[in-house]
Amino acid sequence: MEAKHDVLVIGAGCAGMRAAIEAHDAGADVALVSKIHPTRSHSGAAEGGINAALGNASEDSPEEHAFDTVKGSDYLGDQDAIEILCDEAPDDVYQLEHWGAVFSRTEEGRIAQRPFGAAGEPRTAYAADITGHVLVHVLYEQVLKRDLTVYEEFFVWKLVEHEGRCQGVIAWNLLDGGLITIGAKTVILATGGAGRLYTGTTNAYACTGDGMAQALELGIALKDMEMMQFHPTTLAPTGVLITEGCRGEGAYLLNSEGERFLKRYAPNAMELASRDVISRAEQVEIDEGRGVDGNVLLDMRHLGAEKILERLHGTRELSMVFAGVDPIHEPIPVRPGAHYHMGGVDTDTWGRTTLEGLYAAGECACVSVHGANRLGGNALMETITYGKRAGAHAAEWALTNTTVEVPESAATDAERELGELLDRREGERPWSIRNELAETMHENFGVFRREDQMRRQGEIVDELRDRYESVVVEDKGRVFNNDLTQALELGFLLDLASCMVVAGIERKESRGAHARPYDFPDRDDENYLRHTIVRWVEGAPKVEWKPVKMTKWQPMERKY
């Protein structure tokens, strides 16, 4: 064991850094480990904002926020977790402001809030259209202020379980090469999503679901893995995110006939319906021939140059660079793209997993506040509130327990396994497997899902897994060998794809992001108002079920 800490946080985006700060302030010795520098984390790409019932733009309450979230989740969200989120959100946002977050302001000088999809009030606090960037940087500033240890560019490969507890990790040092073992009384996974399972995704290259897959390997339960959100406005061809804030500020979605087609799908909320509803509407328009080269159009010309420059400056920049379109003068071509994994490591409301000492927070966790469909602006809020809660609990546990023990064999086994991979000279390189996985997931496990396609995808993933067994890493060097880490990431993605597909086949209904219009077009509360739970048992994913926690809200028909 090369180092030892009370609390070790894996991943240094919003959830990870917030957790680390909380654990440190509670008196624990904390370290962060991240495969990329903290400010490079994908939380920084969040654009539109963070939801809290501050009431700065209208009368609002945590209860209204909670109801919108429950309804948005298509009733699959755990209501106790949602209530905690919405109750604690306002103070957590004020805390960020006091740390220095550069929010946009109202005329009264309060934190500005804009309307967002499926929210009853303008509740999304924002910093122009770079809210995630602002939060990542303010959290990193606080990490520096506290002088926390950060293992920068260390790729966590395995979690170490010993005597029924998670007691550390094994990580590859990207800059210098070599494996190290870091022991810890508690480990918090904050590794983000797995959008790289899809070709068209808003997600960064780093979003490969590492933490979820590592937990899975230890037999820990993943929850609601079939629930992958498709964001309605991503830029062709690669899926760069165009914020929901555009529609919050009043942008229209048009088909090739210039029609605001949402009037046929969500006549009341129109462009501010929930993301699952809009993505499906767009896909139908495109499939039925009313798209424009596989896209629909996001029109914000009527907002005027000043508003676009002041509040959607980043969006304009992205549109101009990646689509060659200036939204002041032309509509932006957009389409649904993989964006956010509602599913993740099953946790309680303190971020605890089923393994003692192991916590999870943020996108890699499923507590579940998003259920079958996340509302825009709730992800950043979840990272902060549940990052804080996981940090607090992990610190408390660590400070009342003293020992950390990692058996020698953990490191030697890992060394041997890595050696086998690096010594392999003959075989396939990872990129073709990676590309095939992402293309087929997009094709067969996208906005709409068919039984036969999902089954076919299961077979494809199995074939790819077989091919992955003999994958070859071409770079044999030690310094910055990301040929190696990318190969390991592909292994994680393959495991998660298997879990998603089996959970998707088992959920024989349409709910939120899981839409089966061909065989099960309706929501089925009688049989499926429950979470899928996937565990890795004897080399394959096994699906079980877990009840949804209800507090005040009974399922109702969901219309926007």
């Binding site: 990329i36 805390q95 946009s104 302001r105 770079i130 500033e141 760069v240 060097g477 310094v479 040929d483």
Partner: protein, 357 residues
């Protein structure tokens, strides 16, 4: 989702990459050629090379949407974000660009530099808000949008290192704090919520601080996000002088320019050296000064040469004071800032309306 696998027209893209293998110490310019989709940016092309030609090619990447700041590198000797540079126009022009690691930072492997010196300088400016209290108030602090706008550009910084790569001062003085750290410094000095302004400015006025910038403007020009670090440095200088933090020769030098122009409408060069360096140190330069005077390179110090329209110069200084544009508020520099003057003036006229609604 059938569209995702749609095929795109391909472009034949050629690149030359400066490879560096730290284990053998070999450095070599290698040429590659790939068929890339027509929308490909430099980063996509590097990915294709890594996939299909050489898995050992090293570079950083993550968001591929100009926000994470990972993929700073040089193309034809100028710092760029690889995810921002479209390759089709370059390939169509038949150009084969040379890709290399950023400057002013040690190269670890191929296009990967050691960012530790960069982050150490960021750390040196104490980059966190000094709120002036321990207990958090019940709600947020009241700050107008106009006050937020003062640090808008500096808050855009993604810490990619492109400005540092291009910094001429840092090339001659590796200890120079540099454009990124100084822009970060202004992000706090310009924040009305920060209580550390004087302490921060005192720090930033030390050796290797703001006055060591040579004002080459490369940082403004190469910043991929429009942060304009040189403008931030100018604002820090102006704030320092406003608060009489002028112990550095650079500050004294700048101050004399202002004083001299205000009083006589001209720069009184003969007084510039003693005002900047102090009397004792400038006595050593007397021989040099006399030589200059002999050859008519400097005007005689007495009587002071007063410009014909000196009233105009004085009126300008008064205007700056009455408008409260001393310090950072008076700094309008660089192309991006100049383009925004009209916008700012309009907003001022509407008085406060600029705030969010």
């Amino acid at each position: 989702m059938r569209r995702a696998s749609a095929r795109f027209a391909l472009v034949d893209v050629a690149l030359k990459i400066w490879r560096y293998d730290p284990e053998s110490g070999e450095r070599e310019l290698r040429e590659y050629e790939v068929d890339a989709p027509e929308w490909a940016c430099l980063l996509d092309v590097l990915d294709l090379i890594k996939d299909k030609h050489d898995g050992s090619l090293a570079y950083r990447k993550s968001c591929r949407m100009m926000i994470c700041g990972s993929c700073g590198m040089r193309m034809d000797g100028r710092a760029v974000l690889a995810c921002k540079e479209r390759m089709k126009p370059i390939a169509d022009a038949g150009h084969v660009p040379v890709i290399s690691a950023m400057g002013n930072l040690p190269v670890l492997k191929d296009l990967v530099v050691d960012m530790a010196p960069f982050w150490n300088k960021i750390r040196a400016v104490k980059p966190w808000l000094d709120p002036g209290y321990d207990e958090v108030a019940e709600k947020e602090r009241i700050v107008s949008q106009q006050q937020v706008n003062v640090i808008n550009k500096e808050s855009l910084c993604i810490m990619c290192g492109c400005c540092v790569s291009e910094c001429n001062s840092m090339e001659s003085d590796p200890e120079f704090l540099g454009p990124a750290a100084l822009a970060k410094g202004f992000r706090f000095v310009g924040d009305v919520r920060d209580h550390g302004e004087v302490a921060r400015l005192n720090e930033l006025n030390q050796d290797h601080g703001i006055w060591d910038c040579t004002r080459c403007y490369f940082c403004n020009e190469r910043c991929p996000k429009g942060v304009d670090p040189r403008d931030a440095i100018a604002k820090l200088g102006a704030e320092s002088i406003k608060l009489n933090i002028d112990h550095d020769m650079g500050a004294k030098h700048a101050k004399w320019f202002v004083k001299s122009a205000e009083t006589t409408g001209w720069l009184r060069e003969t007084e510039l050296v003693p005002k900047t360096q102090g009397i004792v140190s400038s006595l050593k330069e007397i021989g040099f000064a006399l030589n200059l005077a002999k050859r008519g390179k400097v005007p005689p110090p007495f009587p002071p040469h007063v410009a014909k329209d000196v009233k105009e110069a004085r009126a300008l200084h008064d205007l700056v004071r009455t408008q409260g544009r001393e310090g950072a508020a008076g700094i309008v520099q660089g192309e991006h800032a100049l383009a925004q003057i009209e916008h700012v003036l309009e907003a001022d006229e509407r008085g406060g309306e600029h705030g969010g609604d």
